[in-house]
Amino acid sequence: MKLLQIIGRVFIAFLATTGRLAIFAVSALSHCVRPPFYPRIILRQMIEVGYFSLPVVGLTAVFAGMVMALQTYTGTSRFSAESAVANIVVLALTRELGPVLAGLMVAGRVGAAMAAEIGTMRVTEQIDALTTLSTNPMKYMVAPRIMAGILMLPIMVFIADIIGVFGGYIVGVYSLGFNPSNYLQSTWDFLEVEDVVSGLVKAAAFGFIVTLMGCFHGYQSRGGAQGVGAATTNAVVSASILILSFDYVLTEMFFAK
């Protein structure tokens, strides 16, 4: 009996959270497109999400590109297909590694910070205070952050793609002995618009996931410092899991075309 009770309770809690999240997401998106807007805050969040995350995302990308070059060389050299290295590196980066790694890094950096900030505002009644000052907290707090996430992640991933390819080029040319112009040529030749675009669409989706999770968990947090801590953890963990699972779903969708 006890076991069934526990299973039931966990299941119901899961469904309730899913429902709350869905309502929160719809409401947040609807506030993104309805005035009043807060350009000052949107801009600040874009700088926070985009500009300040760039070093961390760029660093991740350069190493991802370098390691991809090394590993694919190991693999392809076993059947004398070393010329495919540049091609594989650029495909892996634009389609997968760029958006996923950027998403995960931003989840750790920005999603956590958002959950902590909004959570603290919740437990210190600052969110209630917004309501009493004729300001809708969903519009003022949540919508600008989500917009910043959706807009900035694709831009960052595009930059990360370039930096990652550069990382692969460094290793390819200086360590594996490729001819520089050949390497760039084969990077460029087999790259299709769709590879880059699918990566950027993923990036926008991940930007939405990360900021939504940060805002949602912060908004729902209860009970002082411990509640805020839990909200931060939940934001990062749930965003990471959702990024990886949606990555599969989106890839499947792009392939199905």
Binding site: T124, T131, T132, L133
Partner: protein
């Protein structure tokens, strides 16, 4: 009381899960009157204010502001009614990402009553009203002492010249002298603007000072209400116990939940 009361609450009920907090509460606050609701911790004083402010949705009952029913009112209408309100939160609830003047002028800018430079002017005037100099305006809330934060929060509550001001535990966390200073300010300011006041507190010294009328909240209902002068001869054992702060009496503190 022949005229329409500023706030009329009837049969207000609110429960969180199985825990009933407000259980058919009735209360009236007349025009320009200062009503103080006293009651122990966790008796639902804050819940009462949050229901009137529209931060929490009551389960049942009626709340009228100037004769207008606000329970179940559409959000846009509700925002119009909320402009009559000013609220002093227990912990101040100042926005720590904004300087003091933007905190004070926040409601004015949000409701588009003033441009930013104009709002700053008004904010400095309001700060002067609570005894703070213009040099405070550009500081951040975290740079202020507890008493100063309370004053800034008070300045924010009165910035939009509200008709009704709510005070949630205005003296909590302050030393007795600073508490008295804040009490004096509340009396002075509500008197100056002729605002209606609804305060909740468990600090009897504060209640006696700022109240025209006192109401005692116990187990989700108002069990006694009367002019401040009569509180010492209420003849109500619950009120007697509370104002004298005795551990023995009809009120049993729920030590275990």
């Amino acid at each position: 009381m022949s005229e329409t009361p500023k706030i009329r609450v009837r049969n207000l009920k609110k429960a969180f899960g199985r825990k009933v907090v407000l259980d058919g509460l009735d209360v009236d606050v007349g025009v320009s009157e200062s009503l103080v609701v006293i009651g122990g911790s966790g008796t639902g004083k804050s819940v009462l204010i949050k229901c009137i402010l529209g931060i929490l949705k009551p389960d049942e009952g009626s709340i009228q502001i100037d004769g207008e029913e606000v329970v179940g009112m559409p959000a846009r209408e509700r925002e119009r009614v909320n402009r009559k309100f000013g609220m002093l939160f227990q912990g101040g609830a100042l926005f720590d990402s904004l300087p003091v003047w933007e905190n004070v002028g926040f409601g004015l800018i949000a409701a588009k009553h003033a441009t930013r430079p104009k709002a700053k002017e008004i904010a400095i005037a309001k700060l002067a009203q609570v005894g703070l100099g213009p040099e405070v305006a550009d500081l951040f809330p975290s740079e202020l002492s507890g008493g100063m934060q309370k004053r800034v929060a008070l300045a924010r509550a009165i910035a939009a010249d509200p008709e009704i001001i709510f005070f949630d535990e205005p003296t909590t966390g302050l030393d007795p002298i600073m508490a008295d200073v804040i009490n004096d300010l509340i009396v002075k300011i509500t008197g100056e603007v002729g605002a209606t006041g609804l305060s909740i507190t468990h600090d009897m010294a504060s209640a006696r000072k700022i109240a025209d009328r006192i109401a005692m909240l116990y187990q989700g209902r108002i069990i006694w209400a009367g002019p401040t002068g009569e509180i010492d001869r209420s003849g109500n054992p619950y009120v007697e116990q509370f104002i004298h702060g005795r551990a023995e009496g009809p009120i049993k503190m729920a030590v275990q939940v």
